[in-house]
Symmetry: C2
Subunit: 271 residues, 2 copies
DNA sequence: CTTGACTCTCCACCTACTGGAGGTTGTATA
DNA sequence: TATACAACCTCCAGTAGGTGGAGAGTCAAG
């Protein structure tokens, strides 16, 4: 019977940790003096402690280890756990690699411009959304006013309210700009078929997004930033870009109102 | 001004998290109603939130981000941080890779023997240790009794006490077994030079270790386990193996006492 | 006016420990 | 045998980045 300090020295596990393992019932001392509360261990407990360390090292939680050691090794289950761990570790390695790419991209960006970019691209998942929309080819980006009017008119006529910020999808820009202006609506509304306004489901997507705070006529900066980012981080565009009008410009100065807030999103996938 | 739920939906950050960010001063709402305590955000706060998410994604802690955003971007410092992060991520990837190797090795071992091994190998660092020792070539492993006697005699004569469990170093076993029996001692003792007993420093080392609980005549199982492990996990032996006699056998049944506890260590390095 | 969706604060919990305060116990030396 | 001093004890708090729930107040629609 040896005291906790020596047991700690032999096993190279801190005293505090041994006490903690006692507390959670993972490794209880062979004996506890009921007068002094001193913990007394036996060297024959070292194999168990080593097993604990080995399993911990494989990435198992102390809870899992406790169960494994209690239930007297159901080999099948252990095998399953390890397989899971394998997958988990591989995933984490993939994530670390992506993170490394992003850090490197950021560093390059800083080296080049010698300041932190004003645009921070984030990846997020957007949920599927029911929308009412009008789609048409337009001569230039700012000229979508009539599409918006067409959409609004139809919605007002059918007393439909929008359920969130409106947005535009750009299906292509070469040779002509193919735009679809959208207004999110609830699931259950339906529209007459005799207009160009249709309702459909905007699919869920993983998007690279950037927030543009400033007038529309500087939107290209945001586009540049997000497109650069997508390239630098090894993604590929996977659907029509979206512009979400979080804070539309005041009437009149639509191109230059500096208090406009717009989110630019591109659906992406890992390439 | 929008409420927290909508801000959460726009940013895809959970409400709870936004409240937490408020609490730690990372992102405070543009306004708080002093009667109802409702938080009101502005969409113009989305860029800041996106910056937070982007930096978090690079692996910075919320604390670091708070500082960065407060101190108005000292570019140099950010660059330094990112370089550090790069190194850190690379290290973590290395560790994950090793972990993967270990999990795979375990799995193979389980597949082969269809049970969990009785021997759990762990890597640990052992500290440097002052020892008194006698070294000689012996005909077989069990025949080290006379070396131990020689060592004990000298220690008793000089009234030196051992400061821990004794051990044997095996410098080679081919063609002959070259063994050094050792007794740990305090820093400051010295011995006369006219005997074969010498004192020296056992260097610190990273070792692969396994605990053998059972009679000496089954020690080979532990050796097999640790040597297999070293190979399977891509390590190389880097010094003489050590046997540490944590619980020496009772007098008499030295080869067969089942309550013997011995630690087998091999200094290793990554190959 | 009621219902139901939002929001608030406060508390506890998660992992695997670590650090410290304040109080015993064991051991070595004078 | 007295006294240091190391080793040990328990209990409490804190770490990072949140998540979950209780209980109470607020807002908008019908």
């Amino acid at each position: 019977m040896i005291r906790i300090g020596l047991f700690s020295k032999l096993s190279q596990v801190p005293v505090k940790t041994l006490r903690y393992y006692d507390e959670i019932g993972l490794l209880e001392p062979a004996e506890i003096d009921s007068f002094t509360d001193y913990r007394y261990y036996s060297v024959t407990q070292l194999p168990r402690l080593n097993r604990i360390l080995a399993l911990k090292d494989l990435g198992l939680s102390l809870n899992q280890i406790t169960l494994l050691l209690e239930d007297e090794l159901p080999v099948e289950q252990l095998r399953g756990m390890l397989r899971l761990k394998q997958v988990e570790i591989q995933q984490r390695m993939g994530q670390e690699e992506e993170k490394l790419t992003r850090v490197a991209a950021r560093l390059r960006q800083i080296e080049q411009e010698n300041k932190m970019s004003n645009y921070d691209v984030v990846i997020k998942k957007v949920e599927p959304q029911r929308i009412a929309s009008v789609r048409d080819v337009i001569p230039s980006y700012p000229e979508q006013g009539h599409l918006w009017q067409e959409l609004e008119t139809e919605l007002v006529r059918n007393k439909i309210k929008s359920t969130g910020p409106c947005l535009t999808l750009y299906h292509s820009d070469e040779p002509k700009i193919d735009a679809e202006v959208c207004e999110p609506i609830t699931e259950d509304v339906s529209l007459p078929k005799n207009t160009r306004v249709q309702t459909r489901e905007l699919p869920a997507a993983e998007v690279a997004a950037v927030i543009h705070h400033g007038p529309f006529n500087t939107l290209s900066e945001s586009y540049e930033a997000v497109l650069k980012w997508i390239e630098a981080n090894g993604y590929q565009i996977n659907g029509p870009g979206r512009e979400i009008y979080l804070q539309p410009p005041a009437e009149g100065g639509s191109q230059t109102d500096p208090d406009t807030v717009t989110e630019v999103q591109f659906p992406v996938m890992k390439s």
